[in-house]
Symmetry: C2
Subunit: 463 residues, 2 copies
């Protein structure tokens, strides 16, 4: 094709430098931007033309629209004032790894389609087993193994499908169990996988799975002729980061012949620090585990890790080998083909950014990062506890603090609204049973003690 | 956190410029690199340490290992000598859009979590309806709508699950129909969705779905008490880019009450040129459609588009609203929350790169790009046809040429091996029934007439 159609390497070099500067400038000014976008529904869409351009447009016009039309509609997840949902970390090394991966543009669906993409993935998922104190049997050298997927929703779906295929009863008689605090992806995955029944089990005073209630529900289902097939254990629930007992739930699962899946999507990052690992005690008894470095481990979305204790049922459930994917390496059995570990066939070279992050920070750097956020959360929690206007509504084992205004739900909701309207914070209002509460999730890459002090001053002032 | 832990915006700026240069340099030398990596299984892995570093490492060390350890294990999908599988396009504007999206690091799971991410996606998926000549009812302003997903496998799974939820019979009695040339993601998706039966229907002399065989199998299944529920129509099969009849298959689907899904993962890109649209005649009769701009439309992976004619059954099958995701905008019904359109909750700002591509090239630029590759494929096919040593084994409606050596399967396989071993081409050997064949897929971003001439010379010489 002629040079005027494609962007030449030289023009890419020039525009690429501009874009890197644009991103670096963004990081320099992000702290000053209103965290939550103030556009109204339809505002961005109305500012864009109804049809694509027929002829090429100058790159400068695209950059201008990025600044003028898109940016006002951005909610700044990378702001140091971000306390909403869970963090969606990125970092310099991660972005650089993403750039390299996009530039190479390889498909890692098979070992043969780009061997380094497969082998680096194997190396980093094995590294993570040691870094997080996971069972060594989960390494590729053991019977298990790990793989990078897009999200915990995808991992949980794969776990549900694998368990369903292992179950010796019709799908519509199979039952999935999880606490009423479990992430919605479990219910969604169970629906997609076709499970007949999903039981939402009560939680205890600390919002952790009530094991007596679990056992009672299982017994009732057995009596009704149903087959308990799957139980989800959450280490760090979405609403409050509550921790279900891995060991005790896995014991029940073993006795009942159920698949036991652990969702540590958020809290998994903390396990790089040994002092948090008591929360995952019993992992050697479970079947599968999901964790998101793209939340609180400095690696930009998407980067979810999925581990299984035994890779055979996973491969049996997920592998199909059509003629156009046959190749010597696959047929030899000497290599891993990660397409057999999840739903999609195509896959980006996502291990590259995680490798960049692990090498730039080192394990010790990531531990410092995690510990500082946990310390800041503990401090904020202490301030809230010491003030009569506020009360904590749940323990804070990691870096999420959940509290309410002692004047009740209306005052709590109003405080959340004022904080979010201030432009200087994003928090998530939620409900726990009948209680309105505010989630303060400390974990954004650039959040420091100074930012949390500012947040506390705002809470103090706006309450 | 202290500045020495994170990469500062200034250091990111410097390293970012280095990385852009690394990518630009790669594009300048990519043509000279052996297309297919020559590493042996385990070679890359053995060169990497068994444990992650405890302490931070200098960035230069990471870049050195990228060059020395990773690069020899890369198979160059972006090489202009890439003729294997299908293309996995990238382009300058796409990479710049990806950089911006990664820098912003927003989650577009809800409108409220970053309004511009949702609204730009709506705009570009609606633009694409006009660009590809899709039914206007598929625009967001109509009853249908489009969404960006990771891959056609993900889209097809969503279609299968939605259809299953619409079906009025038990899942294990539901039957999925597709030609024996259908992509493996159909069988995989049907297995994941729990369908009881998948029928592989014979194809005609041009490898398109044999409609008489389809009708006969449906009748047999009805007689056996089963429920025909889903039929897949492929516009551009993987092996030969054969085209099933959309209109006639959709007619059968309507009569039988089946969901009709169109997989145009590869060939969808060609539809930006009106002269190819006769291949998709009848789309107004189907329920869902999947197409990958990340194959042959200059947009780097991942960027799959999924359209439905009616979004209601999709949303009924996929939406779940837990307390922590409730918000005014969602409850008002005035906005789109794309998490309800697919499996994962989290989502990258992928519309940005597609928007960059559409504006940089304009529709006319993309048409030139597609038409040039089709012209080159036609020329290569004419050369092969005119030579007694070769014969085409299938029609070539787009830019894939499939041929064999007239000396038979061994000669064909040997030619494929020689081409791939040359380092100057990557082609895909495949089988069609008992016939060995070679797939030449012309569609890499930088593939020009000169490259295809070189390929022809090699075929001529090595045969």
């Amino acid at each position: 094709m002629s040079g005027d159609l494609h962007m030449s390497p030289d023009e890419f070099r020039r525009r690429g430098h501009e874009m890197v500067d644009w991103v670096a400038d963004y990081f320099e000014r992000i702290e000053q931007l209103p965290v939550i976008s103030r556009v109204e529904p339809g505002e961005v869409r109305a500012a864009l033309p109804a049809a694509a351009p027929e002829e090429p447009e100058p790159f400068a016009a695209v950059m201008r629209d990025l600044d003028e039309i898109i940016m006002p509609g951005i909610t700044h997840w990378q702001s140091p004032h971000w306390y909403a949902y869970f963090p969606a970390n990125s970092s310099g090394p991660s972005l650089l790894g993403e750039m390299a991966a996009a530039g190479l543009g390889v498909q890692g669906m098979l070992w043969a389609t780009s061997p380094a993409a497969t082998e680096l993935e194997t190396v980093v998922v094995d590294w993570m087993v040691d870094l997080l104190g996971l069972p060594t049997a989960w390494k590729t050298t053991g019977p298990g193994g790990g793989v990078i997927q897009m999200s915990a929703s995808d991992s949980t779906l794969v776990a549900l499908v694998t368990a369903r295929e292992q179950a010796a009863a019709p799908t519509d008689t199979l039952v999935v169990y999880a606490s009423d605090q479990t992430h919605s992806s479990l219910e969604k995955g169970a629906r997609i996988a076709g499970y007949g029944h999903v039981r939402s089990i009560a939680t205890d005073a600390e919002y952790a799975l009530d094991l007596a209630a679990l056992e009672q529900t299982i017994a009732q289902d057995r009596d009704a002729g149903l087959t308990p097939a799957f139980v989800a254990v959450t280490v760090g629930t979405t609403a409050t980061t509550a921790v279900d007992s891995v060991r005790r739930t896995a014991g029940i699962a073993a006795r009942e012949g159920m698949w036991c899946h652990v969702d540590a999507a958020y809290a998994g990052s903390a396990m790089i620090c040994p002092e948090f690992r008591h929360h995952q005690d019993g992992l050697e008894l479970v079947d599968s585990y999901t964790f998101n470095p793209h939340k609180w481990m400095l690696t930009n979305f998407d980067c979810n890790l999925y581990y299984v204790a035994d890779r055979r049922p996973l491969l049996e459930a997920m592998s199909i080998l059509p003629p156009y994917l046959r190749n010597e390496a696959t047929l030899s059995g000497d290599v891993i083909d990660y397409r057999d570990w999840h739903v999609p066939l195509g896959r980006r070279f996502r291990s590259l950014k995680l490798w960049f992050v692990l090498r730039h920070y080192g394990a010790e750097g990531i531990r410092r990062f995690i510990r500082e956020h946990v310390r800041l959360a503990d401090e904020l929690a202490a301030r809230l506890e010491a003030d009569d206007r506020f009360e904590l509504v749940a323990p804070h084992p990691f870096a999420l603090v959940v509290f309410r205004h002692t004047d009740g739900n209306a005052a709590t909701s109003e405080l959340a609204k004022r904080l979010n309207d201030s432009g200087r914070a994003a928090v998530t209002p939620t409900t726990l049973g009948d209680i309105s509460a505010i989630r303060i999730s400390i974990g954004s890459t650039r959040t420091t003690a100074e930012h949390v002090d500012q947040l506390w001053s705002m809470i103090d002032e706006l309450a």
